[in-house]
Symmetry: C2
Subunit: 373 residues, 2 copies
């Protein structure tokens, strides 16, 4: 069933959007299971990261999978991340997907494949990182697949549950809703832009900023607690994690919900480490803050009359969020108001798998900088 | 937390059994979820392939993950399997794990990572194979992860449900139970022993036998229907798929259930293609039939007074199985009676990931042959 010419090489977003779509349309609503039933309410035909099933009984099931680039994981190859760190990361990346749906995690399945030269200590460190990340989020590593491969391959699936019908999707934002984010973005992307080139370019940053850049890679925190609050309190109309970067997240929320957004540069928190790296690479800080970066924050929308209650609920758990914009009617699109008052498209470079190696990312950031004076 | 010396390289079964165990003990019974509850009744601390959760309501959830060796997949590299075939295979491999628990599949998550030189047609063929395998088993591909990598990486997770408390495990066989298997084993292993070396050795087999050897790789069938019958009818006391080979499966059922088995060579069906390959590689047919081979049959135990009812239930669905032995008290261990009446250990070479490349497997089979006159 050739849908393209024999030598066509679409980029990954195109493959997902156009080529895969033919196989996935019409899934949602399917009732499965010849004993008890499961109704698929969001599958791969939707725009969400996870599949959602309503099961017989009071439970909605949320499941998703994420793969971590093993040895191509640039900071790992450079010795800035340990085996423990990448084990921790694969769990956080997977938990982040179900956190964005507001589900409580009940387990993580992990695939750990390693080359022959990884000794037992290295292997144990990966497993210890996986175990610790599960423990830190109150969940369990319940199995998966272990074995050898040419190089390290880490992949996982996370399983979560919530009360029937309460799972958050990207689809419910309405004009007038506040657009919120649980913390600053762009830090992990800034680390990738900085570390691989710092020696060649003679870049140096203060020790504490270097530590800030690495902290999100070493101990990423899936926003499970925040997702649970948004779900159980019924505050959020739409939610997504920022693992593709803030720009991509906002655009995807807009497309899935059929709204526009008005976002103000003044309202977006910029981490000092992001500002410092932006200066080094010749970018501006807002561009780097909104570009591809797997910070695992949650971006979500809250109706205006629920904002205070939501903020109070977060505060009672010692959590916070920033309001960075407002949903608008779809015809106004996604608009950005700079510090100087000018309005233009969202700055930043969204995550694209085909350009996702380090040089591609840095090149992309630099190109975007050039295009955004 | 170094548990071994810095240069220790345990093989994969040892890593799973000894090194990982410390992280996984005491999982089962854990109650998870701060809204509705899920009780983990079998996790990575058990000997089963999947995790099992009893959820609030009438549903037991079964989830497992399996990785497929991408480019090292020898038959694929030799052009004997297509992109469609390996897409089909990754789904069947994952469904087989939940079929062994008797669950009805409700979805499959797939990780599809591909090198830059895989064109759109090749990518689409993988996705079409995934889609077809899901359709053939009455389930859906509900998402996962798509992107690039140095070489093809295929991994998946399968999700299934059954009525609370009915999931099959490896743990319930009792002395006196009949040991059964849904069909002949060793065919996929024989294909791996034959094809890569046929030109170098000048081997030829009749076309229909070559097709039989490849059929199980090209269109493997997870025994979902058989698993559902065993589960809903309450026939099986223990069940496992044969994806590690029949020898390993029987030994693992024995260990998990705390029984021995008495297995008779006369009762084990040998596929003609297995006999033919055994002759070529200088092995005997029973050794090859019981060695590492991902045939995705189910091996299960049935109490003596339920055997006829089980056989009738299978027959009504157009399905069959063979009785190949009997469970015994644990002190007798796993015993094998050859065609000549001699009793010895089970023949065959079990799957070990560290020795799982083709040359390792063929070497293993040959070594076992040498040791089994």
């Amino acid at each position: 069933m050739p849908m393209t010419s024999a030598t066509s090489h679409s980029d990954e977003p195109t493959r997902v959007a156009k080529l895969v779509g033919a196989f996935l349309s019409g899934q949602s609503g399917a009732v499965l299971g010849d004993g008890p039933h499961a109704t698929l309410t969001a599958g791969a035909d939707s725009t969400d990261d996870c599949a959602i099933y309503d099961l017989d009984g009071p439970v909605t099931l949320v499941v998703g999978s994420d793969y971590v680039r093993g040895a191509k994981f640039a900071l790992y190859e450079q010795g800035l991340l340990t085996n423990f760190d990448i084990g921790y990361y694969v769990v956080a990346a997977n938990l982040s997907d179900i956190a964005a749906m507001g589900a409580a995690p009940i387990g993580v399945l992990t695939v750990v494949r390693y080359p022959h030269d990884l000794d037992d200590d290295g292997f144990l460190d990966i497993m210890a990182g996986i175990h610790r990340a599960c423990t830190d989020s109150g969940t369990l590593n319940v199995g998966g697949d272990i074995g050898n491969a040419e190089r390290i391959v880490l992949s996982g699936s996370a399983i979560g549950i919530c009360r029937t019908g309460t799972a958050l999707t990207r689809r419910g934002a309405r004009p007038g809703d506040h657009l919120c984010v649980t913390g600053p973005c762009g830090i992990l992307g800034a680390a990738v832009a900085y570390f691989p080139k710092r020696h060649a370019n003679g870049w140096t940053l203060p020790e504490h900023l270097e530590q800030d850049l690495l902290a999100g890679w070493r101990r990423p925190r899936a926003r499970v607690a925040e997702g649970r609050l948004l779900c159980t309190g019924g505050y959020a109309t739409a939610c997504q994690d920022t693992s593709d970067g803030l720009k991509a997240t906002i655009e995807q929320l807009a497309a899935a919900s059929g709204v526009g957004f008005d976002v103000a540069e003044d309202d977006i928190a910029i981490h000092p480490a992001v500002s410092a790296v932006a200066k080094l690479i010749g970018s501006d800080d807002i561009t780097l803050a909104m570009s591809a970066s797997a910070d695992f924050q949650l971006a979500f929308t809250v109706p205006a009359d629920r904002l205070d209650a939501c903020r109070d609920a977060f505060a009672r758990s010692g959590l916070t969020f920033d309001v960075i914009g407002r949903a608008t009617p779809p015809e106004t699109g996604v608009a950005f108001t700079g510090r100087d008052g000018t309005r233009h498209a969202l700055p930043g470079v969204a995550w694209k798998h085909q350009a996702s190696d380090v040089s591609g990312l840095v090149a992309g950031v630099t190109a975007a900088t050039t295009a955004t004076p």
